[in-house]
């Protein structure tokens, strides 16, 4: 193994080890004392001490989480499933919201990039809606879809109001990077490509699909990647508020149930999944990078 390869493995490991060490220092440690009371019974007293007494140590977190990790797809109840089963539920919802975001965001971005007038009309709205937190959108989504019933024709699946609200929140929060990057991409198309289209007298539709879309793809995919990151951020908030089973719902439930180790398990899972999604998207993105 050469030096650089060793470094690329060793250095990240050092970083992780350091974080675990800091975690361990901060976390509370249990001391178990056994005394005999006045009646002669053995009484076990667990005392937690430390900078943050209630924070479980790495080892405790592992012990408490092992069941969820070793049997990742187990389903013991709606809100007691293996960690990957929860992840899968969350991912399904994210995927739907994300697809809606792309379907709305890409054409909107194209219109913004193509028409200066339209861009001026939309700019204030986008600037105002963009920074709104998912936590703020969700209640509005609940109100919007309170009496809505959406049934998927073939499977007969019925979306509940809270699911629709979650989808709405994911879509509206995650579409902005796609919208803005697509718009920038369209504006950045070199005049040369447009001249080619003009000399060949390509029709509007042909210009769109043969020149504009391919020329914008690299920008679009950067937007798609950023949007996916946001969609994954939003799902946790959405599940927390709606109490839906999923990685975020599980996290919130375990907080209420005082099993703090599982919060850490959820955070790590969310982080790893987000990282993997981003990596996958950047592979796709690299595929579409043209000269």
């Amino acid at each position: 193994m050469n030096k650089s390869k060793l470094e690329s493995l060793l250095l990240p490991f050092i970083g992780i080890a350091f974080c675990v060490l800091v975690w361990w220092i901060i976390a509370g440690k249990s001391t178990i004392t056994q005394t005999k009371d006045d009646w002669g019974d053995v009484v076990t007293i667990t005392k937690r001490e430390g900078l943050s007494a209630e924070l479980p140590t790495p080892a405790e977190t592992w012990t408490a989480s092992r069941e969820y990790i070793v049997k990742p797809f187990a389903k013991r109840g709606e809100l007691d499933q293996g960690i990957l089963a929860f992840t899968w539920l969350s991912l399904k919802l994210v995927a739907q919201g994300y697809v809606i975001a792309l379907l709305l965001g890409t054409p909107l971005g194209f219109c913004l990039g193509l028409s200066k007038t339209f861009a001026k009309v939309c700019d204030p709205i986008i600037q105002i809606l963009r920074p709104v937190s998912p936590l703020a959108w969700l209640p509005l989504g609940m109100v919007l879809f309170l009496s809505a019933k959406v049934t998927i024709p073939i499977s007969g699946y019925i979306y509940t109001a809270s699911e629709l609200a979650a989808l709405f929140t994911i879509a509206i929060c995650s579409m902005w990077p796609t919208v803005l990057n697509t718009a920038v991409g369209v504006r950045a198309i070199p005049q040369d490509y447009l001249n080619v289209a003009r000399v060949l007298k390509l029709s509007k539709t042909k210009t769109l699909f043969k020149v504009l879309v391919p020329a914008t793809l690299p920008y679009m995919f950067t937007g798609f990647r950023l949007s996916l990151g946001i969609a994954w951020l939003v799902i946790v908030a959405a599940e927390m508020l709606t109490g839906k089973p999923g990685i975020g719902g599980f996290l919130w439930q375990q907080y209420n149930a005082l099993s703090y180790a599982h919060i850490i398990l959820c955070i790590l899972t969310i982080g790893v999944v987000g990282f993997v999604l981003d990596r996958l998207m950047s592979l796709v993105e690299a595929r579409f990078k043209t000269a």
Binding site: N195, R198, V199, L200, K210, A291
Partner: protein
């Protein structure tokens, strides 16, 4: 009536004349080279001929019809190739062919596309994308794409200026060969006198801008096919070359100070001011009574 007629054309950008009083007539089958300094408006002239921009004044007519917009009857080869980077060599040419000859069968269009890829010797690279090609190869794709349109006139906008000298020479020979086979009307814009003389029937210098205009055209009666090695020793070639350079140098205006809007302070020294009569300046209003007392005097100066 000539094949291509440009009459009294003027084009300005942001108030500054780029081209003025452009008159040009080109016969069918003629190879004309327009030579000028970089930045003198050569590309603007080409864009006018291609119909990508409209003249502010004057007319551009091809085969008696005024040019209203860009179209495939005027094939233009751009300086920077303008290939679509996501398409292969074949697809770049095929896009143009499919668009311009929709009435043909798929097989005819494929054969036509392949014919032009062969013509520029790019058969082995047909499935490569532009970024895998060298500059010279890219420009050959661009030439093939344009020729495949079967344009009535070929506009070459400094097609070789981004290439190294050796590639440039070989592409010049290739253009020369293709022209002799097809005898199309060609307008070549260049900044290289040798290139112009090697290829063209007529060389027209474009004066230095702003407000560049076409100078007297210089007919080139060198025998074809022209060979670059013997040409360099040719007396007629040397004479023509000098004539082009002389015309271009003669057209270069001495740079005059540009008029800009700028605050200029009047150059008035204290000794320029003399008081003829104090009454005239101050009116009869007030006179300094004590020595050292300040008087504010407003003076309007006409420049």
């Amino acid at each position: 009536m000539s094949f291509l007629e440009v009459h009294n054309v003027r084009k300005s950008y942001a108030g500054a004349h780029v081209l003025a009083n452009i008159d040009l007539s080109i016969e069918e089958g003629e190879f004309v080279a327009i030579i000028g300094y970089s930045g003198s408006g050569k590309t603007t002239l080409m864009s006018l001929l291609a119909g990508l921009i409209k003249p502010d004044h004057g007319t551009v007519k091809l085969e008696g019809r005024e040019i209203a917009g860009p179209g495939p009857d005027r094939g233009i080869v751009f300086q920077n190739y303008s290939l679509l980077p996501w398409l292969t060599v074949y697809e770049n040419v095929a896009l143009a062919v499919d668009q311009v000859f929709p009435q043909w069968t798929a097989d005819e269009r494929r054969k036509h596309t392949e014919k032009y890829i062969r013509m520029v010797n790019l058969e082995p690279a047909r499935n490569k994308v532009p970024r895998e090609l060298s500059g010279g190869m890219r420009q050959r794709v661009s030439v093939a794409r344009t020729l495949a349109l079967e344009p009535h006139i070929l506009l070459l906008d400094e097609p070789l200026s981004a290439l190294d000298a050796l590639t440039r020479a070989s592409l010049q020979d290739e253009i020369s060969r293709i022209w002799q086979e097809s005898r199309k009307t060609v307008v070549l814009v260049t900044n290289d006198p040798d290139e112009a003389l090697l290829l063209a029937d007529r060389v027209i210098p474009l004066s230095a801008g702003p407000g560049a205009t076409l100078l007297e055209s210089i007919p080139v009666h060198l025998e074809r096919p022209r060979d670059r090695r013997t040409l360099l020793e040719d007396r007629e070639f040397k004479r023509l070359r000098n004539e082009i350079v002389d015309q271009l140098l003669g057209s270069k205006k001495t740079p005059t100070a540009a008029l800009t809007k700028k605050l200029v302070l009047p150059d008035i020294q204290p000794e320029d001011i003399s008081i003829t009569t104090s009454r005239a300046l101050f009116g009869a209003k007030r006179k300094a009574k004590r020595p050292g007392e300040k008087q504010v005097v407003k003076v309007e100066v006409e420049l």
